[in-house]
Amino acid sequence: MKAIWENIFRKGPADDPILHAIHQVPIFEHLNGKELNEIARLTHERNYKLGEPIFKKMAPGEGMYVIIQGSVTIKDPETDMVFAQLSSGDFFGELALLDEEPRSASAEALEPSKLIGFFRTDLLTLMHRSPELGNKILINLSRVLGERLRQTNKALAEQSS
């Protein structure tokens, strides 16, 4: 009976790689299927070649990226110091959703990678179209940034002791 009445053709997070990737990101936590679909409609799917820069240090930041497939390195191009190596399901650049400050590091594809971008203009559009959903994302974003700040404080405390 369920198969007759339910829309079995609607793609859920498990079927759609974009929805699946968005679903894993803490910024889009606690969102229902409909809300996730709305976010997915605003994101931009991009393919990067091996060694292709995603963004460069000091460039004005416009938004965040989620890795669907492949891997990305976050580094300082001047010192070649690698801050992180991210892979499928990871996200980066979320601070740029809130301010227009220059990027603090460069991001580069370590292999042919598929990423989805969610940008400040998309967030502003979403906040205008669906303020409730926009607020949920902002709260999640604050949580993520708070957690990052806590981790940084912890690392600094460990370093100094």
């Binding site: 931009h44 991009r46 990067y48 240090k57 460039a59 004005p60 938004g63 940008f119």
Partner: protein, 369 residues
């Protein structure tokens, strides 16, 4: 290939593309106009569609409700305007053909000749001449209306196509935008997104501000005409004149004067033959036959309120162009495309400004892209 020859080739390619575009433009001009209008209408209706979609959770239905409501309102306005203006012209044509009207006009002419100095009296036509000319111009008006109706065929086609494009754009707006972004190379993705967003904001702010300012001008004009009526101006079609003045206001600088014309015409139609209206004085000092100066004064006051209070608040610095540049841009728009060009000139200049700003940004930060 070295850098300088590559630059020359690029420049030549650009000139070639520009030349081809300029040659084929006339063939696509009407389609281009339809698309520009559709885009502008989409920008105007997008906030309403978005907010209705939030409430009823169906984008297509929201588009149907908003566009349907607008069409019904527009048809109602046109219908009642045509009925009222028809009745007004009919009434005026009956008035012209009446004998006592001819007599009063003759009296009016004689009176003016006794009041005015000699060199001006020669300029006043005889009453028979006035009636003849009025009848001629009235039949001319009907002929013009007929030729206008025959031209409406192509206008209706353009309007219907624009409507269809607008509906499609409104329903698929965000998907279209995403598709457009797909064509931006990775290197320019973030800059491109910002450019699109800034252009969108520029046009949207300008249009919404202008529409609200036009609405305020319409309301103020209606109030002004109502006040003039209290002093015996005998104005009819007040609401329609106000709405026309509001619409005319969308064309900067020229529009306000266009808005005065129907008001003056109606004042002349209604007051011609009335001694009191002819002898009327503005503030009891300045002669203002048929309340013409009162109407001009009222529209100037409305314009001053609009220019110094309403527009700066509603439109603000949305376009941020120097008044001198606005004037030059209007002249260019008017020369190229007439009133339509004047309507689009300022927002188009605003968009070009945003693009130039981004190009400047890209050339300054090219090493970061």
């Amino acid at each position: 290939m070295n850098d300088s020859s590559l630059k020359i080739y690029r420049l030549l390619l650009l000139v070639l593309i520009g030349g081809i575009a300029w040659t084929v433009l006339p063939f696509f001009a009407s389609v281009l106009v339809m698309l520009i209008f559709s885009f502008l209408f989409t920008t105007i209706f997008l906030p309403s569609v978005d907010s209705l979609e939030r409430k009823i959770h169906s984008r297509s239905f929201s588009v149907i409700v908003i566009i349907g409501g607008t069409i019904v309102g527009f048809i109602w306005f046109l219908g009642s305007f045509a009925t009222n203006i028809g009745a007004q012209i009919k009434q005026f044509s009956t008035k012209i053909q009446q004998d006592d009207f001819a007599l009063s006009l003759e009296g009016l002419s004689n009176k003016a000749q006794t009041i005015l100095p000699d060199f001006l009296t020669n300029l006043i036509p005889e009453s028979d001449e006035i009636i003849e000319k009025s009848q001629e111009s009235l039949s001319g008006l009907f002929q013009n209306m007929l030729s206008f109706l025959s031209a409406t065929g192509s206008l209706v086609f353009i309007a219907v196509m624009t409507l269809i494009f607008t509906i499609i754009l409104l329903v698929e707006y965000y998907d279209f935008k995403r598709t457009l972004v797909c064509f931006i190379p990775n290197k320019y993705l973030e800059v491109g997104l910002r450019l699109i967003y800034n252009i969108e904001q520029q046009i949207s702010k300008y249009l919404r501000g202008q529409i609200m300012a036009a609405g305020s001008v319409a309301l103020l004009s209606i109030i002004g005409l109502f006040i003039l009526n209290q002093f015996g101006a005998n104005m009819t079609l007040i609401v329609f004149i106000g709405i026309i003045a509001g619409f005319a206001n969308l064309i900067p600088m020229v529009g306000p004067f266009v808005g005065m014309v129907p008001a003056i015409l109606v004042a002349l139609m209604n007051n011609l033959g009335s001694d009191i209206a002819l002898a009327h004085q503005l503030f009891g000092v300045i002669p203002s036959p048929f309340y013409i100066l009162d109407i001009i004064f009222m529209f100037i006051v409305v314009q001053q309120i609009d220019n110094n209070l309403i527009t700066p608040i509603l439109v603000g610095e949305s376009v941020g162009l120097h008044p001198m540049i606005v004037m030059i841009v209007l002249l260019i728009g008017g020369t190229l495309m007439g009133p339509l060009g004047m309507l689009f000139a300022v927002p188009a200049a605003g968009v070009i400004k945003v693009i130039l700003h981004e190009i400047q940004f890209i050339s300054k930060n090219s090493h970061l892209l």
